[in-house]
């Protein structure tokens, strides 16, 4: 359930009293209702489901997640090369 895709908010305007935006998905532009993301600013990425933005991507959190994963990857590669020995239960936070 819940196919929702992040896109770049490029424009804000109003239609029939509703806050609307133009959101860019890799060059495909769609009008999206922004009523549920009042905080969204041009240049933000919003997650869009059935023509509504349901969330604003937290760029810092996204970055944190990716860095954590990349650190995991480095650790795994280092282990493969025999450079470290890790104990069970080591947290990567």
């Amino acid at each position: 359930m819940c196919l929702a895709i992040p896109g770049l908010l490029k424009e804000r305007f109003e239609t029939a009293g509703l806050p609307m935006g133009r959101v860019d998905f890799a060059g495909l532009c769609k009008e999206v209702c922004l009523a549920y993301v009042p905080e969204a600013r041009i240049g933000d990425y919003v997650v869009v489901h059935v023509g509504f933005a349901i969330s604003c991507i937290d760029a810092a959190e996204a970055e944190r997640t990716l860095q954590l994963l990349d650190a995991l990857g480095e650790l795994a590669s280092a282990e493969e090369r025999g450079e470290t020995a890790r104990k069970d239960g080591d947290a990567i936070h």
């Binding site: 359930m1 819940c2 929702a4 209702c33 990425y45 997650v47 489901h49 023509g51 937290d58 995991l72």
Partner: protein, 369 residues
């Protein structure tokens, strides 16, 4: 595509798989709730990449599959009326009721139209004042706010020719029902990421208090799912049971407050019948009295046909993760996407249909590990 490609990255996937391999000592059963997550797992071939003793079971997260037969028949009866323009998301158009599907009805002359957004149906109503526009409001808490906005708009504009046929279902009650069921095998949940984006994480704390089962709110890209599985396995191996948020770039603790306010304004919680699972109390939305005039179920007085499901169908057990599609004797024989016997095969997002279309031959799965 930004925030998509990074979460489909091969080396990150490899790192997570290695981690999961390293820490997953004991056998566990993990259920992902959302049909979209099921879709992603099968589309990327994730479950074949996991250690054999980790079992992923696919939950009832397909609002299309769980829409009762009786409601589909009601939709068909409404769509058959000459004054009606019946609008729906694409997913529902092929689900057969007792007399074929909505697409079949279109073939017989009904004006059935696919829309991408509930607002498109409101626009159709404005543009066609002589016709009655009905929108089939199917979906979880993720979709309900969009319908709420459409209902509020139509109500404010006093559109006399717009109504909704409501079939919203709520996910946490279904998650609880699964854990309560005697044959339950689920050790941990990958929680519904976009539902949580709306509703927040609090409902899963309630689940935790009742059942002490780990819940990891998870996204939909393969890296999200792998990270969610990693976090769930970690909890299980360490004997913890907590609500964790893997999908933190999209999900906040309190969810989406304006959306939740809109839901409270337009809907109230009610009991709902889940096809294949049965009635689950307080597991659906219906329109509040102030908006009841926009309820298509009341506006169109149609006789609904009560049908029983074929006896061989084990949809209910599949939806609850107690059986795999391949456990069903009818799977791929009497029951197929061409001739679906029940809920989980009728929709292409159902566990049985998804298995059928992304089916892996056992030998190939072995090669991939």
């Amino acid at each position: 595509m930004r925030y998509i490609d990074e979460f489909r990255d091969r080396s990150r996937a490899r790192a997570l798989l290695q981690e999961i391999q390293r820490i997953a000592v004991r056998p566990w059963v993990i259920m992902e709730v959302c049909g979209g997550q099921t879709h992603s797992i099968l589309r990327y071939g994730l479950d074949a990449l996991l250690p054999a003793h980790l079992e992923l079971v696919h939950g009832p997260g397909c609002p299309v599959c769980v829409t009762p037969l009786e409601l589909i028949d009601r939709a068909l009866a409404i769509a058959a009326r000459p004054e009606v323009i019946f609008t729906s998301f694409g997913d529902m158009l092929r689900v057969p009721g007792s007399q074929g599907s909505l697409l079949d009805a279109r073939g017989r002359g009904a004006d059935v139209r696919m829309v991408y957004s509930p607002l498109d149906a409101v626009r159709l109503a404005r543009e066609n004042p002589a016709r009655q526009v009905v929108f089939f409001a199917v979906g979880f808490e993720t979709t309900a706010p969009a319908i709420a906005m459409a209902v509020k708009l139509a109500h404010a504009e006093r559109l006399p020719n717009y109504s909704v046929l409501v079939s919203h279902v709520l996910v946490p009650p279904a998650m609880a029902a699964i854990l309560e069921s005697p044959g339950n095998r689920v050790n941990a949940y990958l929680g519904p990421g976009h539902v949580a984006a709306i509703m927040g994480c609090g409902e899963y704390e309630d689940l935790l208090r009742r059942f002490a089962v780990p819940v990891v709110i998870t996204g939909f890209e393969p890296i999200d799912l792998l990270e969610g599985i990693w976090m769930a396995v970690r909890q299980l191996e360490e004997g913890r049971a907590e609500v964790e948020n893997q999908y933190s770039r999209t999900v906040g603790k309190d969810g989406n407050l304006p959306a939740r306010r809109a839901l409270q304004e337009v809907f109230e919680v009610c009991d709902r019948n889940w096809r294949g699972v049965g009635p689950i109390p307080q597991s659906g939305f219906q329109l509040r009295p102030e908006f009841r005039a926009l309820d298509a179920g009341s506006r169109f007085d149609v006789q609904s046909i009560v049908t029983s499901e074929p006896p061989q169908c084990i949809s209910g057990l599949v939806l609850q993760g107690q059986k795999r599609p391949t456990d069903c004797p009818a799977f791929g024989r009497e029951c197929s996407p061409e001739h679906p016997l029940g809920a989980t095969m009728v929709s292409s997002e159902g566990a049985c249909a998804a298995y059928y279309s992304y089916r892996r031959s056992a030998a190939r799965a072995g090669d991939a590990r």
